[in-house]
């Protein structure tokens, strides 16, 4: 098997780093909301760090990097940090999302009520099975050939792929062609996309396999 001679590049590398940082910021946000609900209006880096399992230095470094400022001695004002994080994450906007594939995962996502609390909205689903089409529902389901139209009309840039592996790449291509710029992929393949499209993969099976390995490893070393 001869491989192509084009030079190898790592377009994902820098992206991985941003992804990891922003994932931590999102965790901070969830944790801050929790403490706010418990009645606190200030929090120390130490407390936050302990809650999400990182070092206090990491928290301060992260906050500093994203220009989230605290108060020496009195810690961080929860509301202030939340406002900054929300601004950073553009939480004031409603983010429209489309979904391809109304199988088990797709159905679960359509029924999930928590998106709106986080300023996200599933605006439409798409499935090839006529039995799954719905018109006048909270979230309508259309045939796949209407996907491009909906994406363009609603100006959606985020898509979820929950279709079988065999058609995932094709659906991905259609999404990208119509204007989707970020894809959450549940299909167990690496999607090929242009460099300006971000893909995030979720695989329950992979996570379980990793978990099983870790657990057995743990037992061995006991």
């Amino acid at each position: 098997m001869q491989h192509k001679t084009e030079t190898y590049t790592h377009p994902q590398k820098n992206r991985e780093m941003i992804k990891k940082n922003i994932q931590r910021i999102i965790q901070y946000r969830m944790c801050l909301l929790k403490f706010q609900n418990l009645g606190f209006d200030r929090i120390f880096s130490y407390t936050l760090a302990q809650e999400i399992g990182v070092s206090p230095e990491q928290v301060r470094k992260d906050f500093s990097q994203f220009n989230l400022r605290g108060n020496k001695k009195a810690g961080y004002k929860i509301q202030e940090i939340l406002d900054s994080i929300n601004e950073l994450l553009h939480k004031e906007d409603l983010h429209k999302i489309i979904l391809a594939g109304l199988g088990n995962i797709g159905k679960a996502l359509v029924q999930y009520k928590g998106f709106i609390n986080r300023n996200m909205q599933l605006v439409a689903g798409f499935d090839i099975d006529p039995a799954k089409l719905k018109k006048n529902c909270r979230i309508p389901v259309f045939p796949p050939d209407e996907m491009a139209r909906v994406i363009r009309e609603e100006k959606v840039v985020i898509g979820i792929i929950a279709v079988p592996e065999q058609v995932a790449q094709e659906i991905c291509n259609q999404m990208v062609e119509a204007g989707i710029r970020g894809i959450l992929n549940f299909a167990p393949i690496m999607l090929k996309t242009p460099p300006d499209v971000t893909v995030q993969n979720i695989s329950v099976c992979n996570e379980l396999e990793a978990l099983i390995y870790m657990t057995e490893k743990q037992e061995e070393t006991k």
Copy 2:
């Protein structure tokens, strides 16, 4: 002058590192299976690397670290590497899994047919809602107070938490108490567990939020 000591011991790697490595190994496995199905019986580090989006050096390093050997000039024998990875992941054993919470995600997992192909089996579900209980199904659903009994009788060590946030920690405690050592957690909280219990979190909302951030970041820098 100080001379090197003869014994070489692997430095104790932290859990995050092992997790990341093993996730890559799992991806290699999926990719190797794909190429095997396409009729290839050998593969080069370069090909594999390109397919899953890492460097060829990374692939060779990973394989080397897990003692997976290739052949200079002829690359790696797919079947040989697959056998080694399967052994590493204990793929010859059937891994039993229990599931707490038959909500949207829980239902999707129960209906998912792909576990058995990867030597994993959902042996029971648990839900507090009497309407969701099932006795003589492929995957029976019991009330929560039977969880400890099932875990012990079936010797299950892996559990999935797909219950509401408010009861997640309590269910987690019950699982750990009964012998669960690895938890896949869909609840949006950091579970508190003893150090010998491994937790893997999945949050669709967090992934979507990160994706939205990355996508908007990308647009800005265009």
